[in-house]
């Protein structure tokens, strides 16, 4: 029997971790394993360079539960794939493509199959590693020099010191009896199982570094920024094309929006119908609405009110009396430049021909700027009609209300 290498080095102070015996080949190993098993040891193992056929019954190893883990993982994969496809394509973002059903087995089988296999394979790989308690880099048995042969041509049995029946002398006798090629004790030399401090420090630093992006995110979520949104990839967000109302280096004046070419008219600018477009026929302001093209209607009145409230009301007020919010505020500023707007309901304007009101809207008058560019021809007439209605209603008497409805006013 060989003396333990550890005693030679004077390291006997390390606790004994177990006893190791080498055997000559798989056959001898199997026989020895049967004896060790029958002797009633529980914390021991055989070690060999390849799986020895028939060693499991010899050692009394029971079948592993691994297949069940893998089956479970496989079914999980199948479920994930089914639910994923059904939910994403069938429910959350239903999108019809080439007449295929949103969720119909023929086209969904490949992914179900692949994910089943993928998760099963994970189950086999990680499951067996976890069951085998791998990775485990430090093992007391590795301290035996002889044991290095285990990955070459060595066949070993090791009995751990924590076996209830562990008795070094008895075991050595047992091994010698089996015809071992050599017995060794092996020791647990390293008694510092705790993780070294620097690892914690590195972990702490990583944790803190990880917080930085999150802190930025929190800040960005709860504050405003004068910088535009982040473009991880600029991609086609900004295409080199001319965009309306944006600057463009392509034109010398730097404007993408092109002014009308001088001396030209757009089709709708053509003055084919002076009554409609100018409110003036043969140099005379018209007194009638262009009913031929624009018959008066309730719809037009509603439209006129809407436009009036948008464009006119800021100054003239919703009742047309010139007390709009802008006008009021401008007056309160007391700047000498401001001229208050007219009261649209007074008699002067009530008597004005509609053509003149139309022209005022279009071209402006005195202090009033022109609204031609902002308001379309038809809308101008609608506004004129609405102004007429305002004039009537602001100067109305009880007689103007239909008899049936008079009661409601009281």
């Amino acid at each position: 029997m060989q003396a333990s290498a550890n005693t030679d080095h004077g390291e006997a102070s390390a606790p004994l971790a177990g006893i190791l015996a080498e055997f000559d080949g798989p056959g001898a190993l199997k026989k020895a394993a049967t004896r060790v098993r029958d002797a009633g040891f529980t914390r021991w193992d055989c070690y060999s360079p390849f799986p020895v056929h028939g060693i499991d019954p010899a050692m009394g190893v029971r079948p592993t539960i691994l297949p069940w883990i893998i089956l479970g993982m496989g079914l999980t994969g199948l479920t994930i794939a089914t639910v994923l496809q059904w939910w994403t394509n069938g429910v959350d973002y239903p999108f019809l493509i080439s007449g295929k059903p949103l969720f119909g087995l023929p086209a969904n089988i490949p992914i179900m199959f692949e994910l089943t296999i993928l998760l099963s394979a994970f189950g086999a790989f990680f499951g067996s590693l976890i069951l085998n308690d791998l990775p485990r880099f430090y093992r007391p048995i590795f301290s035996s020099k002889r044991f290095r042969k285990v990955t070459d041509n060595g066949f070993f049995i090791g009995i751990d010191a924590n076996d209830p029946q562990f008795d070094p002398n008895k075991i050595k006798t047992l091994f010698a009896d089996m015809g071992t090629m050599g017995v060794e004790e092996f020791y647990d030399h390293d008694n510092r199982a705790a993780l070294p401090r620097p690892i914690f420090r590195v972990g702490m630093i990583l944790f803190l570094l990880g917080l930085i992006p999150l802190a930025f995110a929190v800040k960005s979520r709860h504050s405003t920024s004068s910088q535009p949104r982040w473009h991880f990839w600029r991609d086609m967000d900004f295409q080199p094309v001319v965009r309306a109302q944006r600057a463009s280096a392509f034109f010398p004046d730097g404007r993408a929006l092109r002014p009308q070419v001088e001396g030209t008219l757009a089709r709708e600018q053509a003055d084919k119908d002076p009554h409609l477009n100018q409110g003036k026929v043969n140099g005379k302001l018209v007194t009638t609405f262009p009913k031929a093209v624009l018959p008066l209607s309730m719809e037009m009145m509603v439209r006129g009110r809407d436009r009036f409230n948008t464009y006119c009301a800021p100054c003239h007020g919703r009742d047309g009396k010139g007390k709009g919010l802008v006008a009021t505020r401008a007056s309160s500023l007391g700047e000498g430049t401001w001229v208050p707007p007219s009261n649209l309901t007074d008699a002067r304007i009530a008597k004005m021909p509609v053509g003149e009101i139309y022209q005022t809207i279009r071209y402006g008058v005195r202090n009033m700027p022109k609204y031609g560019p902002q308001i379309e021809v038809r809308d101008r007439w609608a506004i004129v009609a609405y102004i007429r209605a305002l004039q009537r209603s602001q100067n109305a008497s009880i007689k103007d209300v239909p008899e049936a409805d008079r009661g409601k006013l009281k």
Binding site: Y93, K100, P110, I111, A121, A124
Partner: protein
């Protein structure tokens, strides 16, 4: 040695007994020594440096071209209307096909108890991984904006939309992704005990550290072996249908379309057979020189090579069968478009490609009917190289002939590759060989523990006989 080896080979043909799978004069420690020595030599053979230098240069070229592609856009390829699928897809299918042999040898032959696989499976699996790396590259850059490749995965995103799971292109993502992952796990899983061998023999600190980490503290415990074997068996059982599914799904990319020449129901098994065919050809192409360079003749015997040649012949016949079926059924269908497309393949613009394909894939492998020829290294090299070429052209013929002659004669065209196309094809070989040469240099290139397991000594009768 030669006598021993030829005895092994001779025994293979004798039905009255089973020949040993590796040279019978080997002991366990010889196997460990022979294989580990390759990775432990302080310096590899000169040829390795030369090959590595060339491969690395080509890889550099590949990645510069990819960089150029990303900056300039996919217009640098020859892909254009009507052939939107040009070299990138052809290369993708080609490399995925190559990537089938490894898992096939590992998984299917494992399940079929073809024990001769143990000598070559590691090698073939590594080849698989590297081929899949090359394959995955092409669809990745084919999407144009590579930084959006994550759109292919169902990740909740700010657009609140999902990928279309009914599209075969997405099936591809899942199939190739699963295949790459499972192959990698399978390869690495099988390597753990052998990495432990290297760990236990390592002299230097770096070797001890790296082999130590990657062998995960493997101790050869029987309880571990028990679960390990079970897991390995199940991984093999899972990988088998996976191998079928991957190239089937790749074939769906074509076959679900209505395009004549693409839409054929035989495409899935035909693609799988073609993939195994090309994959085996590539394994033999690499194995033949490697066993000489690294002195593995006793472990990878001529019989292994011959067996692979038989598989090449068999799958070559299956591919030939599919060509014949497609041709016959296109006539039998009576559909004018179907009939036209196959006549066009054989006699149209791309007839040259078609006949390269047929001669390389169907005619040349017929040499393997003869025992003498399938054992002659020069003949073998000749055949397998042509098979590699032929299988590339097969994908080219399928993708390009159909696209350039579709239903609308107005859109017919002719596809010509640009120099970037050709450079990337060549560069992908560079990448493949770079990875492969690194594997040869640093990892156990034969499954040491598995070879030991099929040696006669492993059954425990050996020592009794003495």
């Amino acid at each position: 040695m030669t006598n021993e080896l030829s005895r092994v080979d001779f025994l293979a043909d004798d039905p009255t007994q089973r020949a040993p799978l590796v040279s019978p004069d080997l002991e366990f420690k010889d196997v460990t020594q022979t294989v580990c020595e390759v990775a432990e030599k302080p310096k590899p053979p000169k040829a390795w440096y030369v090959a590595f230098g060339i491969s690395l240069a080509l890889t550099g070229m590949l990645f510069s071209m990819i960089a150029y592609l990303i900056i300039a856009g996919v217009g640098v390829w020859g892909n254009n209307s009507p052939a939107f699928w040009g070299f990138p897809i052809v290369n993708f299918v080609f490399w995925v096909g190559i990537g089938h042999a490894g898992t096939l040898i590992s998984a299917i032959l494992f399940l079929f108890r073809q024990k001769w696989r143990t000598s070559i499976n590691r090698f073939a699996e590594a080849m698989t991984i590297f081929a899949v790396v090359c394959a995955g590259l092409f669809p990745g850059i084919h999407v144009g904006r590579v930084w959006f490749a994550y759109w292919l995965f169902p990740i909740p995103n700010q657009m609140e939309m999902w990928p279309n799971f009914r599209s075969p292109l997405l099936w591809d993502v899942f199939a190739v992704g699963t295949y790459a992952t499972v192959s990698l796990l399978f390869w690495y899983f099988g390597m753990i005990p052998d990495l432990a061998s290297l760990r236990d023999r390592a002299k230097g600190k770096i070797g001890k550290l790296l082999y130590g980490i990657f062998s995960l503290g493997w101790s050869g415990s029987a309880r571990h072996w028990h679960r390990y074997e079970r897991a390995y068996l199940i991984l093999a059982a899972l990988a088998t249908p996976l191998v079928l599914s991957v190239h089937s799904v790749v074939s769906f990319d074509f076959a679900v379309a209505q395009l004549p020449g693409w839409h054929a129901t035989i495409l899935p098994p035909y693609f799988v057979a073609g993939a195994i065919f090309s994959g085996f050809a590539m394994v033999v192409t690499l194995m033949l020189p490697a066993r000489l360079f690294f002195g593995l003749q006793k472990i990878v015997t001529m019989r292994h090579i011959e067996n692979m040649n038989k598989v090449i012949l068999a799958t070559g016949m299956m591919v030939g069968y599919s060509y014949a079926m497609e041709f016959f059924i296109s006539w039998y269908s009576g559909a004018p478009a179907e009939r036209f497309v196959f006549i066009n393949r054989a006699f149209g613009n791309y007839a040259w490609a078609y006949w390269i394909m047929v001669s390389c894939n169907v005619l040349i492998p017929q040499l393997f009917w003869f025992k003498k020829l399938r054992r002659n290294p020069w003949v073998i090299m000749f055949v397998v190289l042509f098979v590699n070429v032929g299988m590339w052209f097969e994908r080219f013929v399928i993708a390009v002939t159909s696209l350039t002659r579709d239903f609308t004669p107005a859109s017919w065209g002719y596809f010509s590759p640009t120099w970037i196309d050709i450079g990337m094809l060549v560069g992908s070989f560079g990448l493949f060989f770079t990875l492969f040469l690194l594997f040869l240099r640093f990892l156990p290139i034969v499954a040491i523990s598995e070879v030991k397991g099929v040696m006669p000594q492993a059954h425990g009768h050996h020592e009794e006989g003495h």
